[in-house]
Point group: D2
Chain length 139, copies 4
């Protein structure tokens, strides 16, 4: 699956009293990666769909003012939802990346009664375009 | 002017790499104080009006897990807006309070074109009830 | 396993543009529950140990100014770490709770070289006191 | 005084239930601007000094995914501290900027007893280099 990459700096407001990046800040980094992926794929952010679950693992700490590289890709695509997987690396120097967080958000498309429903067409078209495999067969 | 008081604990997510409470967290404490004041006065939170400016001064640091006491009151009431003033104290022990943040938010009532407009009646009624003095004469 | 309960109000700063509580805010609620559990058990917060992973599921939305009840307990206790499980409920009215978030944080005790190490004694004593079962046998 | 400029995207986690950028997020934007100014001037971030007060005014709302341009400069430089002024603009299109937040943070250098003290040399050297005028005469 095609991966999308973007870079940001770790902000002071994202640190905590252990003098590392607060673990909750990684959800924000995942979002930055997702938005840049959506922008590159031409998916309007207003087409965004609810988050059902979030998971993150922290193999190593990150620090204030670190240059971070975020890798983002679609995974586990089904007719009514998908996962977005993310990895966050510290760029220690060019080509020397240390994994500091990895995880996913699970997205499910729902109608106005919050019943899971088939994904809108613009998602299906994007998945076709990037050659994404559906886990549960074609829509 | 009548002051309203509430207490909370400083959260881990509110700390920063200097191992103190992040200065930006005080805006959140001001909000907690405001909401408790609104609740006590019976002002519906949906009646809340836009914030035009914020100010905070930090005389002394606060720390993770501190018990904090927030004092909140209306000030500088005018026909189209008002300030909400806040003080945040560390409760070192009962009756031993140390000021750690103080400031205000300025609120202006606007119509749908964002033009400043007279405050809605429920504010005026509340100000009358708590004997608040209008800075610019009666409405 | 003994569950610990505390209540807070959802804050304005915790909302997002979907007009619900931002999913990332649940990590903050989990922390509040943990700190109140630690306080009740007499575990000093300085004894806190690193977070290895976080997970949260969102069965239903929560809203600004909701009264939230947080349930917190130890789970999956091992010689070098444990999980803290959390549930967050909206208190619609007394005895009418709606689950809005549930998940866990996984904690691993490490030495200064970040190698996993046996839990400090004050954890073991607390687990004995509350009758917690170790998943991997006695220490 | 020389102004420094940087651009970021408004993040989803920075929105609030009014479907605009939460006013507290502007402190984070000010910090991003400050860090990029420090980087460009070669001031090590570890040389950073405490914040005494913060102020922000919100002339107009900003929105999720807006491209924001931050202008940052030193002001009101004194022997023991200074202000950092910031303006945040929405880039509606290239050369069409709308001011959405402006304000300052006041920084005071203190010794370990928290007594205000002369600024460290690297600040003085930077102020000399960028031709900054001291408000209270030469150090």
């Amino acid at each position: 699956m095609k991966k999308f990459t973007t870079r940001i700096r770790a902000r002071y407001c994202e640190t905590d009293a252990a003098q590392v990046i607060y673990y909750g800040s990684f959800m924000h980094y995942f979002e930055v990666g997702k938005m840049e992926m959506y922008r590159e794929l031409g998916i309007p952010y207003r087409a965004d769909i609810p988050i059902l679950e979030t998971y993150c693992r922290y193999p190593s700490p990150a620090f204030f003012d670190d240059l971070l590289e975020i890798h983002t890709w679609f995974d586990d695509i089904r007719s009514k939802g998908f996962k977005i997987r993310s990895e966050v690396y510290r760029v220690v120097k060019e080509h020397d990346l240390v994994l500091v967080g990895e995880g996913y958000t699970t997205h499910i498309y729902v109608n106005e009664d919050r019943v899971p429903t088939l994904l809108p067409d613009h998602y299906v078209q994007v998945f076709d375009r990037i050659g994404a495999t559906r886990e549960d067969g074609k829509r």
